[in-house]
Amino acid sequence: MKTSNRILFALYILILMYCITMGDLTAADIKVIKNPKPTHVEKNYVDLILVKEIKDEIDEEHFFAIPTYLVPDKDGNVYVYDAGLNKIIKLDKNLRFVTMFLDKGRGPGETMGSFDRTPNMFISKFDKLYLGCPGNKKIIVFSEEGKVEKEIPTPQGFFKKFYRPVVDEGGKIYLHSGYGGVVDIFDPAGKYLRTLLTQDAFKTFVVFEPQKKFIHNHTMSGTLTTFYDILPDDGFIIYITHSSTVYLFKNNKLVKKFNVWPEKLFHAYKDIVNKYKASVKEDEDIKPLYCMSFFVDKDDEKHFYMESMIGYRSLYKFNLKGELISVLRTKNEKGNFYAKRNGYFYGIRWNEGRIFIYKEDK
């Protein structure tokens, strides 16, 4: 064999091996911080009081099956996605039925739906409702009345777990990355523009160490690893659950990054992880969660909330400098909070078919 051919052959093997392993992190790539030094101390506690709730029955004609996500608009109307019915139900600020829309299927304005209990809707600044439909590879845009205004195709082969589109003032769309990063940005027509952050963002774990054979499950952008939302003035925020790290962007450039490791929360989380380690089976890949929800305060857009999964629900309120402002506690709430708007906190307990609204006890 000629030398040049040997070199080419060797290069070919190298490229092949690289392709096989590309994007596939190994145990050696990840870093685990077992005992993080607390970044915040919980001092200021505020109680949340229940203002309103409805359970299962909206009225005599309408019932929830499996409500999984909601978004409130600026007037206090609440749009609830019910995975069991595959419908979006619009309720007014008193949680009374207004209208219901969305059909099941593969045609225009239709979605195949999903029973994944993950965020999938967003209300833009112009009061348009965006619904992510991964099974149909598209986003449907609705008016306030539930009329289909347009559909935006998502790229071929993009499909991941059910995802929530976030839309900025210019109409650009942000989604969990299907290109090996964290968040992808698309233009208003659905054309890919760029990706924010790389897979490196998933390489650090705090307290919890995933089993080596399941590492690849934890290193993709998805609804349990990544939360994101827009901020004013071309700002953007990303939160990675593995390392509990917040990334702040301005004009798509990273301007600040900080960890969120409150003292009590992490002590409690360590206990849970230790209990989990004692009971987990060898082929089980479950990551204990300390945060199931993360959202920006839509009233001032200067704060964000991280929901603790430990015990009864509480919300950790931070400002954009990374300072812990307060911990908002409920007495016995087990549902998940998904939004803060109009002075209220909105949430769902899906397995009870319950929608609830809380406010701060001032």
Partner: protein, 185 residues
Amino acid sequence: MKGKKNYITILSLLSALIIALFIIVMQAKENRFLRANLPYLLPKEKITSFDLVGADNERIDVDALKGKPSLIYIFQTPCSACNDNVLFWKKIAGILKDDINVFGIVLSDYGEMVSFTEEARLNFKVYYPVEPIKFKENLKIRLNIAQTIVYFEDEVFRVNMGNLNGEDYTQILKEIKALLRRKDS
């Protein structure tokens, strides 16, 4: 002449009557035949036999259907519609559990009944027919398909075959709530 006319008239009327009777009898026979072969109960029909045994060896009969509206879920394993419906069945049973009777009836073997109940974490009791063949005949079950039956005061109110969708779920809840209001009034 007049007599002949009357004779023809009478003969024509008699013939028409005989033909009409014949059509009615044939229709009735056909309807009975059709009805006998339908693989499900029809509204207003009555369940006359309901002998079942639960996982804890509890025995029940048709008296268990009295007093409250009853929701009867019939499923067999394997049955993809049954797996899909479990979510709605559990939801309806959870919402109305105090106000209605809920019976899950598995038509596979007893062991499968127990394991299915545990896997699906059902929130209602599951039973197995004491005499499966007789039970299937009585409830006209001829297909390996899920059924959701609403039953009250000795009559069937609704039968859903196969997969339930969101609309079915809503209609079942509305119907049962209407029956409960009727029961209370």
